[in-house]
């Protein structure tokens, strides 16, 4: 049985779904808009909660899809459905016919400059969690110059009515604590603070990471949101926050402030999503069929979803969904 399955998106969800579908005897075709497979995870250095190198995971996933037909630097520009299935046009003008489509388009990182009070793009030493991860990978970032005091702000662009994102972005708490430990590894003498609303350590090993962060790395976790960032004469950052456990406002001078940016729906797929008749849910992500038994299905017969295109998800959640979507597609093809 050789049926084409079009997978839009070559990140963790797309690669894993492709690998599974290939094992099932189907013909996955990945269309990825960037120049590499791997998605956001390929930009990461180590993964929570065990500090496992992201590259190992990405390499393993890449090895599984080495025989999968893949288009890089390519987007789907048009898609139509008829009785024979889906007919997609790519940005390189090639055409693909497929029996089913998997949307594995992942997420966009929240643009930190939208939270103007944090001063990203205004004050030199305010950076994002993505940029810090790049520093861990490369060891290079001119903003990080033997810092003595570093702060992390959780929930940047998440659980925030002001930016119209009321949902929890799920992975930022754990990522913040992982990065707090890592920065302490690089700069053991630095004081590190994280400013959180709640610490949502929901997964296996996450709570242990929270304890380790405090016991082994002496990171100070402050329950309270940073409300304002400014810069003093020396270029250091002055932040204001409230410690809600002490019930007191606080002001602190930092060398570097890291913003834990949330996930938002990847909007580059909007036009194709619209052509396929898939709506968004109340959080702005893609609407799946239902959140219990139909999480990989959509309102459109033959169109499936996997990964963070429907909501913020951790890597294990994404892999799990990618495997399940492969099963769903396999059953869909076999029952047609």
């Amino acid at each position: 049985m050789k049926e084409n399955i079009l997978i839009i998106g070559g990140g963790a969800a797309g690669m894993e779904a492709a690998a599974q579908l290939q094992k099932m005897g189907l013909t996955p075709i990945i269309v990825e808009k960037s120049e590499n497979l791997g998605g956001h995870i390929a930009q990461w250095d180590r993964l929570f909660p065990a500090f496992h190198p992201a590259k190992d995971v990405v390499d393993q996933m890449l090895s599984q899809v080495k025989d999968v037909k893949t288009y890089l630097n390519t987007e789907v520009t048009d898609i139509q459905k008829d009785n024979n299935g889906f007919h997609a046009v790519l940005s390189n003008n090639e055409k693909i016919d497929a029996k089913a489509v998997i949307l594995a388009t992942g997420f966009d990182v929240f643009k930190a400059e939208r939270k103007q009070e944090y001063g990203y793009g205004i004050y030199n030493n305010v950076m994002t969690s993505v940029e810090l991860e790049k520093f861990f990978r490369t060891g290079k970032d001119e903003r990080i110059n033997n810092p003595k005091k570093i702060g992390f702000v959780h929930c940047v662009g998440a659980r925030d009515v002001k930016v119209c994102n009321t949902y929890c972005s799920k992975v930022c708490c754990t990522t913040a604590l992982k990065q707090a430990c890592e920065i302490k590894e690089v700069f053991p003498d630095a004081e590190v603070y994280t400013f959180y609303m709640d610490l949502r350590m929901f997964g296996p090993g996450y709570e242990d990471l929270y304890l380790k962060t405090q016991k082994d790395f002496d990171v100070k976790c402050v329950r309270g949101r940073v409300c304002e960032v400014s810069e003093d004469m020396d270029g250091k950052l002055v932040i204001k926050a409230e410690d809600t456990l002490f019930g007191k406002p606080l002001k602190m001078t930092l060398d570097v402030l890291v913003l834990m940016c949330s996930m938002e729906k990847n909007k580059s797929i909007d036009a194709i999503q619209q052509k396929l008749g898939i709506a968004n849910n109340s959080d702005g992500f893609m609407q799946n069929k239902d959140m219990y038994l139909g999480m990989n299905g959509t309102a459109q017969d033959g169109v499936f979803v996997a990964g963070a295109c429907t909501a913020p998800k951790s890597l294990p959640d994404t892999i799990g969904e990618a495997r399940s979507v492969a099963t769903q597609v396999f059953n869909y093809i076999n029952n047609k």
Partner: protein, 356 residues
């Protein structure tokens, strides 16, 4: 500091405001605090820029102080505002400009609330008819008076006689800008530059040759905060806010503070005297304070108005060192003379902060 980042935000928060024909309403407290400011605004717009700014003698307070002090309900404040709008309509104007920042906040809040809750607007229409037999039209455009000066800042610069430059050193004056909280903190899109990095006063400073000081407590409240001051027992909070700002700006050695709110220049000015009396500390050089002026006063100074016609003698902090830095001539004998040379009397000299 990444200037391009601020410029991007400024570009995102621009307003396309009408060139001419405005219905102007005054502030209830500015006329007492800084009596030269509103007169100067009208003189600049009408006589220097040739614009039509009409003032109806029957207009009143907007009710903002009572509203924000919780002494009148919102419906009462809205009915007062509806009456102002009715006067605008009767006068044949559609563009509304107010002198006061809190009024600007109240008008904006009222219009936005009516937009969201039309039934409330209908209720207020009935209240206005029942109480005054008037009918109102909502303004086509609502501006704050500082928006107007911002819009015409380069036209003012063309008529400038004394730029914000130290004539002895040739260097730009270092200017702190302080924005009234009700300008854009509630509705960022309604202010030039938004809420976090407003451009309305920065634009004036830069157009007139000054250098903007960005200091850590730039966004902090001036200390007015309504209940911080109106409730007598809270006045320590008011002063401590002002003190915090001055401690933060002190290392930058600012020459001048420019504001666009009725209360901000008042508290930034008067509390400097109180802080000096309490602690012996002054924040200007040689025992002087840092002048805290309104944007109209600064516009008037750069355009060559006589400092005493601008009412600068009403400031607690002595203005003379600033005048000398800018090379503005002044007659010390006329400082406390009113219209027609009438002697207004002289205030007692404070013991710690220099007054002349």
């Amino acid at each position: 500091m990444i200037v391009e980042g601020k410029q991007k935000i400024w570009a995102d928060y621009q307003k396309d405001i009408p060139d001419d024909h405005y219905f102007y309403v005054r502030s209830c407290i500015r006329q007492a605090f800084w009596p030269g400011s509103e007169v100067t605004f009208l003189d600049i717009t009408r006589n220097k820029l040739g614009k039509d700014f009409y003032e109806n003698p029957y207009h009143t307070t907007c009710g903002g102080i009572a509203y924000h002090s919780d002494t009148i309900p919102q419906e009462t404040a809205m009915t007062i505002i509806a009456r102002q709008f009715a006067l605008m309509k009767e006068s044949g104007y559609e563009n509304y400009v107010c002198s006061c920042i809190t009024s600007f906040g109240c008008y904006t809040e009222t219009l936005e609330t009516w937009h969201e809750y039309p039934e409330l607007e209908a209720k207020i229409r009935q209240y206005l008819w029942d109480s005054c037999k008037k009918e109102f039209a909502k303004p086509k455009y609502l501006a704050h008076a500082s928006d107007i000066i911002y819009k015409f800042r380069f036209d003012i610069a063309k008529q400038m006689k004394f730029p914000l430059v130290n004539v002895k050193t040739g260097k730009p004056l270092k200017v702190v800008e302080h924005i009234g909280c009700h300008y854009s903190k509630m509705f960022p899109s309604k202010g030039f530059g938004g809420a976090e990095y407003p451009h309305v006063l920065v634009g004036m400073i830069e157009a007139w040759g000054g250098e903007v000081v960005d200091y850590p407590e730039r966004r902090h409240c001036c200390g007015f905060g309504f209940r911080q001051y109106f409730v007598q027992g809270n006045r320590g909070y008011s002063e401590s806010n002002t003190h915090k700002k001055f401690e933060s700006m002190e290392p930058y050695e600012p020459d001048l503070i420019i504001t666009n709110c009725p209360g901000c220049p008042y508290f930034l000015d008067r509390w400097q005297y109180v802080i000096a009396e309490q602690t012996g500390k002054t924040y200007g050089k040689n025992g002087y304070g840092i002048p805290a002026l309104t944007y109209e006063e600064v516009a008037g100074l750069v355009m060559g108005y006589d400092p005493w016609d601008l009412g600068l003698q009403m400031h607690q902090v002595a203005i003379e060192p600033l005048l000398e830095k800018m090379g503005i001539p002044y007659d010390p004998k006329k400082k406390y003379q009113g219209v027609n040379g009438k002697d207004l009397g002289q205030p007692m000299c404070p013991s710690c902060i220099k007054s002349v």
